[in-house]
Amino acid sequence: MREAIIRLRYRYWPDHWLGEILSKRWTETAIPVFVLLIVGFWLSQSIHNFLSLASLADTARQACEIGFISLGMALVVIVGGIDLSVGSMFALTDFCALFTLDVLGWPVPLVAAATVVCGMLLGAVNGILIGYLRLRAFITTLITLIIYRSAFDLLIQRYSNDIAAAFPDFPSWDFVGNGTVLGVPSVAILYIAVAIFGHIFLTRLRPGWHVTAIGGSRRSAYNSGVAVRRTIALCYVASGALTAVGALFFAARLGTVGGDIGVGLEITVLTATVLGGITLGGGRGSVAKSLVGTLIVLLIINGLTTLNARGGVNRIVLAGILLTAAIVDIRWLKNRSRIISKVYVSPTYLALPEPPATEIGGGGPFEQNDKLRSVSLIGLGRIEAPEDVILDRHDNLYAGSRHGDIIRFFPPDYERMEVFAHIGGQPLGMAFDRKDNLYVCIGGMGLYRIAPDGKVEKATDETNRSLYSVNDDSRLRLADDLDITDSGLVFFSEATVRYEMDEWPIDGLEARGNGRIICYDTNTGKTHTVLRGLKFPNGICVASDGQSILFAETWGCSVKRYWFDGPKKGAVETVIDNLPGYPDNINLASDGNYWLAVVGMRSPALDLAWKMPSFRLRMAKRVPGDEWLFPNINTGCVVKFNEAGKILESYWDLKGVNHPMITSMREHRGYLYLGGIANNRIGRYKLERANPNFVQYEKRWGKQ
């Protein structure tokens, strides 16, 4: 009963999402967003028409005006500076708009252009001083704040009466100030457009990268060839321009050049920027953060005002929320990576039946023996980590190595060897196609093709992103083994989508179906995922019927069959359900049966632990990683099974002296060639009763 509950809980509750969601970069903004939601909820409860369209539109107008300025400030802060002069620039550009409209009588488009240019010029002063003359941003913009403000004061002394006297009546001007499109204020539409562009700009466009790089490390950016000074200067120009856009809408809405326009605006904007999570000092920040920060600050100020709160109360509440949010946010950012490392590993429930007996004298197909004692060794000490071995029509033997090479041994004695091709990564599974191209699964890289002349080509490194996956699973992390169908489809397994190449054992601790089988079509060059949720899918072999593949699920201790064609297309069926160890590669035998490598034997301790997810969770949290309970992968065997999944025979090397580990095997002209990922040798075992002329790919596709 209890076990059933545990099973159901782990089957349906996606524990692993927590760690994956937290690993997303946008969760850095989680706290500000959370605060925004709380504030929004609280206001919608206390102000009865808070969520009405009219009220939201009113809020949006002001929020977007400030939002433009916040965007500019965000840009400047991300580039590693600060712009205190925004308030004064706001006032001056507001004046510029109204002066050109009311006093000079310019048409509205020209007014808009003039205002933005005015903002850019004001920003350019900052930009030149800070970017090119290398003045300190804080002190410089503090001084320009004073200068611009006094210039504004002098100007309105002279012109405020002229502006006050005019009541401009242009429909286009009113549209800028109060117009809506489908109920959305004009300013919001422009803001959304600018924000979307800003997001793309910062994350994907070259100048945006440069901005982030300069903020993150000025010297690194310079060394990378970024035009540091120009970029910084342009950021201040952009800040000026964005401020001018905000001021233009403000001018159109209210038409005022009152003396305290923009006073203290820099504080509001800076508060919004920091609250949104954009770090002073540079390098970190996004458009979304800027928006969230702006909304929080404005909602609090306006909401409390609407709730009849006096100015003082308003300030207390605002400051209280700001400080609380800042403290929580700092804790969060500080501990986020630690939390992720604690929660990313999320073991799940896996119950395996009692394994079949393997003891000597226990009988059964798995009974241990010492047949592999007599293997002869190839390339001892000269090769590292040959996970898979393969032989071509000319009896050449190929094996991958840890250094990313494909090594070729020459017959007849396989003493002579050469680096056939260098790819990098970790070559795992291999298979030949009809034209003798060697396809290789490279852990960490994907699927590669090596032409007979040794030329390396990438076949695929990307598949379609699945809809419900939190992690972006389009990147191939651990392509493992493959086989090729007659019609040119390459089926290959990816062992796990949650861990990188060098962390694969952790996947064994989780024992979740994190793996998948992917199909690469050599005819179209397209790649798509065919099966998901497999427990470390490993070996793949096209079955004799040519319509299905057999694949091994390592942590599932099972072999399954998947029909990619024919009447049962799409179906999956279990072939062997309870192996005594962890299956690895599968290959054809000369008699029409299949070879299966068993990489390691199950242990009662891990079998038990797999039924106790919370135990493994505690272990992952408290015990250092190298002392975790991992699947045992050092002794194993080779078994032969038939189409129905019946085990026919098994080959063991009990002492493990000669050939300690087996991850793969190939039958070729009466010999069985053995590979092992932890080995420094290749084994060669003389099979009795085997077809001495069996060449796997000749049998499949005929002689050439």
């Binding site: 001084i143 004073i146 200068i147 006094s150 509440v317």
Partner: protein, 323 residues
């Protein structure tokens, strides 16, 4: 190589001297002892605030909440006396509030690790709001009879020297003594110079940071009392003004780098004198307030630009997050 360098401090001194000579030569009534005293008196509160800011900036932070500390506790003194409490108990309460405020600031920055700019920005708003909402009935807290005699703090003079100047000088001496002669002063410099190194050396960095903000709040409160005494009221609306920017200018212009660990009381005095001379000269010239600001800004900008040209910074020496 060293001796060709002129520090920002020296540039500011040169600018100040030039301005002073200029004003003396061309402005009638500038170079009179009465006017010089007026000049000093006008900037004495700014100077005291500058000293408070200097302590924090030398310690590697910044205190935007200084104006709140200037306005609220002294305002409370006036309000409490108005409501019939005794002057002495009111002053005790005010300083207690200032100390508590400094402790909160320090805690936020040293222990909760909120960046000082943001922490003091918010805490300043909080204190101002607290005063506005609960402590004062109106924003300008008026003098009342119970305060009799206290106005000497702002309006009396000793041997012809107005009291605020004497208080500024006294604060200068006290702060200079603290920074130069005491252990805690040495610690403040150490923390501002390299907080990580100070920590590893075994200096109690967090308490020292708290100490800075407490000192700043207390000095700010003191400046507020001087201000209130000299204008016979506490206009708490001063919080909304841009006074804090002037304070930062005095400190930074004087040559105390925002990166911390550098500078001292001399720099504050220099910065204060420069600002004071400029404002006084322009007041004599009867320039409007806006025009005064404009000129002030341009002169400051010139000083900063001159500094950059004389001490150029390049990509090699640029610091990270150097704002």
């Amino acid at each position: 190589m060293k001796r060709f360098r002129i520090t920002q401090q020296e540039i500011v001194f040169v600018v100040f001297a030039a301005l002073f000579v200029f004003c003396s030569l061309f402005l009638k009534g500038f170079l009179t002892s009465a006017n010089i005293l007026a000049l000093l008196q006008n900037v004495s509160v700014l100077g005291i605030l500058g000293l408070a800011m200097a302590i924090v900036v030398i310690g590697g932070g910044i205190d935007i909440s200084l104006i709140a500390a200037l306005a609220v506790p002294p305002g409370l003194v006036l309000q409490m006396v108005q409501d019939g409490h005794s002057l002495s108990s009111s002053i005790v309460v005010a300083f207690a509030i200032a100390i508590a405020f400094g402790l909160v600031n320090g805690w936020l920055i040293a222990y909760a690790e909120v960046p000082s700019l943001f922490a003091t920005l918010a805490s300043g708003i909080f204190l101002a709001g607290l005063g506005q909402a609960f402590l004062f009935r109106v924003e300008v807290v008026q003098w009342s009879d119970g305060m009799a005699g206290f106005d000497r703090l702002g309006q009396a003079s000793v041997f012809g020297v107005p009291m605020p100047i004497i208080l500024l000088a006294a604060t200068c001496l006290a702060v200079a003594f603290l920074l130069r002669r005491t252990r805690w002063g040495a610690y403040i410099y150490a923390v501002g110079d390299n907080r990580a190194a100070a920590r590893v050396t075994g200096i109690p960095t967090r308490p020292i940071i708290v100490l800075q903000y407490v000192l700043a709040a207390v000095i700010g409160c003191f400046a507020g009392l001087v201000l209130a005494a000299s204008v016979n009221s506490m206009p708490t609306r001063i919080f909304n003004s841009t006074l804090i920017y002037d304070v930062i200018l005095v400190v930074v212009l004087g040559g105390i780098g925002l990166s911390g660990g550098r500078g001292g009381v001399v720099n504050v005095i220099l910065g204060t004198l420069l600002i004071g001379t400029m404002l006084n000269g322009m007041t004599i010239m009867n320039l409007s307030y806006a025009a005064q600001n404009l000129v002030k800004g341009v002169v400051l900008l010139a000083a900063v630009i001159a500094d950059t040209f004389i001490n150029p910074r390049n990509e090699e020496t640029a610091q990270q997050g150097d704002i």
